[in-house]
């Protein structure tokens, strides 16, 4: 009995390790395969045909990819700038001032995060079709995508900045007031400098979300008609055996870009911690 028990316990212990190892393999297996295949010499993306950099060469000469990349970067930069501004202001407002219907407004500010993305995407599609176009006529797809991205990013920036603001020792702002600073001076000289790391992480999050977004972009352009960001470009390549191999290269590079962004985020976080 005792031996059986001990045996069972040992089994649980080794299963714990085994599961953990398997999960990590599971997480990195497809990424590894993807990168490997991006160096394939085959004419087809899904077939291995020996090592080559041909896919990368083709990628860099592809006009459609370049255009999609440009669109992605423009939308991400613009939506990040706007969402960071709006989100930070909202966070400050929610945490530092009082207003009527505050609770309702708070719920409204959080909703874009919690409702399924597809619902928000559908709502934007209908809004553009039923309100924006009838009122303003033809609207450029880039603008509709931008509006969509800002809308979900605002909430994320707000959450990140607000969390830091809540942790911020209130007495720091009081000390500044006590030393004669006006509320505006307090904001400029104390609150904002202390919030900078949080605002930067919020912005980075917004940027990543925008680059990554599929649902809102897809619906905001009613199915990607003409205007393509990188994810839309990837989606539109009917995935069959004949996918051109430079898609592997593109996917690998997108992966690398994400990694670079995270590295940047971590670096900034490290720096923020050091200066505290």
């Amino acid at each position: 009995m005792g031996r059986l028990r001990r045996g069972l316990d040992a089994l649980i212990g080794s299963m714990l390790v085994l599961d953990t190892v398997l999960v990590y393999i599971f997480l990195y297996l497809p990424i590894g395969v993807l990168i490997l295949y991006s160096f394939s010499a085959s004419r087809y993306a899904l077939v291995w045909g020996g090592f080559s950099l041909e896919a990368y060469r083709r990628l860099f000469t592809d006009r459609d990819v370049a255009l999609a990349l440009l669109n992605s970067v423009i939308v991400a930069s613009a939506s990040t700038a706007l969402a960071t501004l709006l989100g930070t202001m909202l966070a400050l407002a929610l945490e530092r001032t009082r207003i009527r219907f505050q609770q309702g407004i708070e719920v409204l500010a959080y909703l874009p995060i919690v409702i399924p993305e597809i619902v928000m995407a559908v709502g934007l599609l209908l809004f553009f079709a039923q309100v924006l176009r009838p009122v303003f006529g033809a609207v450029s797809p880039m603008l509709t995508v931008l509006i969509g991205h800002v809308t979900f990013s605002v909430s994320y920036v707000m959450v990140v900045v607000r969390a830091r603001l809540r942790d911020l020792d209130r007495s720091l702002e009081e000390a500044a007031l006590d030393l004669g600073a006006t509320p505006w001076q307090v904001l400029r000289k104390v609150t904002l400098p202390l919030l900078t790391p949080a605002i930067m992480s919020g912005a980075l999050l917004a940027f990543t979300l925008s680059l990554d977004d599929f649902y809102v972009t897809y619906f905001s352009t009613t199915g990607g008609s003409g205007f393509k960001t990188l994810p839309l470009y990837l989606y539109a390549l009917q995935w069959r055996a004949a996918v051109p191999p430079h898609v592997n290269a593109l996917a690998s590079l997108m992966l690398l870009a994400s990694l670079a962004l995270i590295a940047l985020a971590l670096l900034m976080q490290r720096k923020a911690q050091l200066s505290r």
Binding site: L8, A93, P116
Partner: protein, 276 residues
């Protein structure tokens, strides 16, 4: 501080591009379908009545729920041991391993699905290997492939809150349980698991909700042969036979379902300190 000025820009944005669109969904869900598939304004409940028609709805409804439950269950079973092992590592190792869990999740969603597409295709080495073992599994275009993609996409959402609650757990409690004669299994089932309840619930909700509204994974890995809510909603708006009012009713029903789950579990999500 002049509070009004901080509120208005963000609030206006959210009202215009979030609250109004969602309201429009609600209005359109009560309208008639025009011959072109778009809208004839009016007031009818027929779209909602069609939602509860068993034959129409049974397939995608059961499919979505089943896949969402299976995904959540698999994520929990796979993720718990990982979160537990992570929580017990020394600090430096802990952070590195946690980082490795989150890393793939920061890369583009479509890129990740595309990577699985390469791994899972019928001529791929995984299928070949399984066939050699006498298992003939079709991944692409089947629920199995979709399930793998979903688990992959949402595993971090499970591991992070689990980790957060397990990390705060005082492991001397486990030692105390051992000291009192409990086996590993007993100390897990009677001490650790109950204390990590908020993490389990938060993780489950964070996986369950987005999976319900998923559209890319079933579309790309399921090849349109695995109908889920999200796929159906997309078809009603951007498919060949559009039906906006029905699509709007579906989106709203999905939102209602999600709100129900969220309201029931809000306390635990907050407790796990993973959101907000």
């Amino acid at each position: 501080m002049n509070g009004r000025l901080l509120w208005w820009p963000g609030l206006l944005w959210l009202l215009l591009f979030f609250a109004i669109p969602v309201t429009i969904i609600a209005l359109i869900s009560l309208a008639h379908r025009a011959p072109d598939g778009v809208i004839r304004w009016g007031f009818t409940l027929e779209n909602y009545l069609r939602l509860v028609e068993p034959l129409y709805w049974a397939g995608p409804f059961v499919n979505s729920l089943l896949l969402a439950v299976l995904t959540t269950g698999l994520c929990l079973v796979l993720g718990y041991p990982v979160a537990y092992s992570l929580a017990r590592q020394p600090r430096a190792v802990k952070n590195l391993l946690l980082f490795l869990v989150i890393l793939p999740f920061f890369t583009n969603f479509l890129v990740r699905i595309y990577a699985w597409f390469i791994v899972l295709r019928p001529e791929g080495w995984l299928s070949e290997a399984l066939r050699a073992l006498g298992v003939d599994l079709v991944f692409l275009g089947s629920p199995v492939g979709v399930l793998i993609g979903l688990v992959y996409g949402y595993l971090p959402f499970m591991i992070l809150p689990l980790y957060a609650s397990l990390e705060r757990l005082d492991f001397s409690l486990v030692e105390a349980a051992h000291d009192l004669g409990a086996t590993r299994w007993q100390s897990f089932w009677r001490v650790i698991f109950p204390l990590s309840r908020s993490g389990v619930i938060a993780g489950s909700v964070l996986v369950f909700i987005p999976v319900l509204g998923e559209f890319i994974t079933p579309k790309l890995l399921g090849g349109g042969k695995v109908p889920m809510f999200g796929v159906l909603i997309e078809e009603k708006f951007l498919g060949r036979v559009p039906d906006w009012p029905l699509g709007a009713a579906m989106a709203l029903a999905l939102m209602g379902l999600v709100s129900l789950v969220l309201i029931r579990s809000f306390r635990y999500i907050k407790e796990s300190r993973w959101v907000g």
